[in-house]
């Protein structure tokens, strides 16, 4: 079921078109990562989805509510982690959450209960008597995430949740997102960290200059951009004449003194055959490994292709 649905979403500011005819859906319990260069329209898209901006053309529906018709309901259903945490530095955690709970129309008791539960869950309970201005960067980011969760939103929009965090903080926030996903939250994630996108997202959406240029799961995109997997064989002995023997099974892409590379869609059959050949010629194999296919390569390839 599509919880978030953008249909031909277009957003113009004056003469600038930030988002142009973008259509996609985010399904219940899914994590969708939105990738793209700065200025590609990611933040504008998220703001349209969160009913902060109104689309110039097209529609956005969240849980069936159109953002143009029922922006209040949409904002009530959505939790937004903005790019910068932007906390009120003079407030304490409970006050802060109480304020945002009240702005979302929660009653006092619910606000207190949820605030306490969330602070405990995110490991911020020990800091409940400190002012937010004294929090570290990582704590602030987690606090902003808690704020986005205070009203138990069905959908979460996360804009650069781990930017500017140190490795440990980033790890913790990523764990938190993974937890939220496990609990069935629907999440839209904007990030520049491709390793993060690869780890967390079910599907990817890559946009460039306001248009979608690619979409699919990580594997689909890799297959699509980089072709079938490439395997590399590293040998302990010199290659010499063995290539001819190998050629009976596969055609190597290239080779050097240490070994060779080949491409195959059926590693289960091909690889044992290659090893058998090599064994037969008496060449010793140190390793036979798939080449790492980084999402970064996919991304840079796509960006190079469109620009």
């Amino acid at each position: 079921m599509a919880v978030v649905e953008a249909v031909e979403l277009t957003k113009r500011f004056g003469t600038i078109t930030a988002v142009s005819g973008v259509s996609f859906q985010v399904h219940e319990g899914e994590v969708l990562a939105l990738l793209g260069p700065n200025g590609a329209g990611k933040t504008t898209t998220v703001r349209c989805l969160a009913a902060i901006l109104q689309p110039t053309a097209g529609h956005v529906r969240v849980a069936g509510y159109d953002t143009r018709v029922a922006p209040r309901q949409v904002r009530r259903l959505v939790g937004l982690l903005t790019e910068f945490p932007g906390l009120y530095g003079r407030m304490k955690p409970m006050e802060y959450l109480d304020f945002f709970g009240a702005m979302h129309g929660l009653d006092g008791q619910t606000r207190r209960q949820r605030a306490e539960a969330l602070l405990k869950q995110f490991g911020l309970w020990h800091a409940r008597d400190r002012r937010l201005g004294q929090f570290s960067k990582g704590m602030r980011q987690k606090m902003a995430l808690v704020r986005a969760l205070i009203h138990a939103p069905r959908v979460l929009f996360l804009d650069e949740p781990t930017a500017a965090l140190d490795p440990e903080g980033a790890y913790q926030v990523r764990q938190a997102i993974a937890d939220l996903r496990r609990q069935g939250h629907t999440i839209l994630l904007c990030t520049h960290n491709l390793v993060e996108a690869e780890t967390l997202a079910d599907r990817l959406l890559i946009i460039h200059e306001g248009r979608i240029v690619a979409r699919g799961t990580v594997e689909e995109l890799k297959e699509q951009v980089l072709g079938p997997p490439v395997f590399r064989v590293r040998l302990a002995d010199r290659l010499d004449g063995t290539l001819d023997a190998v050629r009976e099974v596969i055609e190597p892409l290239d080779w050097d003194a240490d070994g060779f590379r080949y491409r195959t869609t059926t590693p289960e059959q091909t690889n044992p055959a290659v090893l058998a050949r090599l064994h037969a010629t008496g060449v010793r194999v140190i390793s036979l490994e798939p080449e790492p296919r980084r999402l970064e390569d996919v991304y840079l390839h796509l960006m190079g292709a469109v620009s």
Binding site: R76, E95, H104, F122, H151, A152
Partner: protein
Amino acid sequence: MSERTLELVAVPDIAPTHPRFDWALVWTLVRREIRDSLRDWRIVIPIGLLTLLFPFVMNFMADVVFDFLERYDATIIGERFVPFGLLAVGFFPMSFSLVIALESFVGERERNSLEALLATPAGDVELYLGKLLASLLLPLLASYIGIAIYTVSVVWERRWNLPASVFAQVVALTTAEGLVMVTAAVLVSSHTTSVRAANLLASFIIVPIAFLVQIESLIIFWGQEQALWWIVLGLLVLDVALVRAGIRTFNREAILAREIDFLNVERFARLFWHFFKAPPEEAAQVRQQYGGTPPSLQLGRIYRHDLPRLLAENRWGLAASLLTVVGGFLVGWALLTWWEIPPDFLDMRSFDPEAFRAALQRRGAAFALLPAFDFRAIFWHNLRVLLGGALLSLFSFGVVALLLLAAPMMIIGLLASGLAASSQNWLLFLAAFILPHGVIELPTVMLSTAFAVRIGAVMLNPPEGFSVGEAVVLALADYVKVLLFAVIPLLLVAALVEVYITPNVVVWLYS
């Protein structure tokens, strides 16, 4: 991260029948803001000092002076000084508290906390009102506390009886001034891109109000306290206009989308030129496509089409001018009794048209009621007053332009009423001294004023789709068009008539 699973209290969805406007959200916002401001020592300490210590310091300085002057006549000084002191004591904390209002939107935007607020269910009007009230309450409270402290210290220490009416006036004035300053500041805050810009624009709020406070002080020293109620009324009207403009022009789109703006002087100059050359009805179109070649300016079209159309479009401005002319005359008429002026301060019964004619021919000391008999001097004087009015209109939402029109009408009204009250023929006077050139000059001045008012008023209510800057540029272009093609030629004619015809009419009618 604790490994605990998320067992949270369920929260119901918002009802589809949720009210369109929810005071609860406004108050939530107001409470948070005020609590936050009260925690900021950079706000609390200066305002606290100004509120608590300024009355004390004022009183203390008065002490030092009074001690020295005690042998003379301290009560008169007290009577004059205390209402002024009250005004000052109310004004200072307010003007410094403006920093809260000026930061209300743009400060949150700079600190990146605005987007989270915009993501809550609160609507634009709720956000705007919340920020407005939050910005208003603390400054107002500070003013009231300052006034209260000063009042107590004056009444208790100096044993001076403060009339309740003066006190009520000061409180009303302070409140009205505070409302105007804060609403204007919140308006500025929701239309600027940086706190720095907002702070710089603050001068254009504080300086006019400071001038107003000085005028009010003069009125108090002058003993015309009743006039203060008119100022209160005027401020309240302005305030309603400002709140309306604020709500109307506020939207969360603009406030997030706005980037650091280099003032594009070139763009505004081009826009001005295009507006100036194009017929009025094409303004909206020109605004979007000003990049091309400007439309051509045809003199014939200006007179046949542009000017009539501008007059029709600006009927509210013309109506305001007309109302001001009539109102000014009537107020002037009434001043005679209000101020208990001896009615025969102008005695036309002893007016000698021959002596007048002789004086004119000597070209020496001109007759007091008409300025130097040189049509260039008259023309320049009139033009300068009109241009000054248009300029100050920009910083007063049009008010100054109207005041400058009202002033001469009040004088004419006063003169006429004096003649009437002393059983002289005031209609003859008007027909002789005013009518000959006034029949041209008065409509011309009203025309100029109508478009000058628009330059300031348009900021409160820009045309659909226009930014405030664009609206002002359009109003300026229209003003210049009216000025060049109607006001200046007519003023020249009026000045010539005043110098070469009016005196003859005077001599003819009074002979």
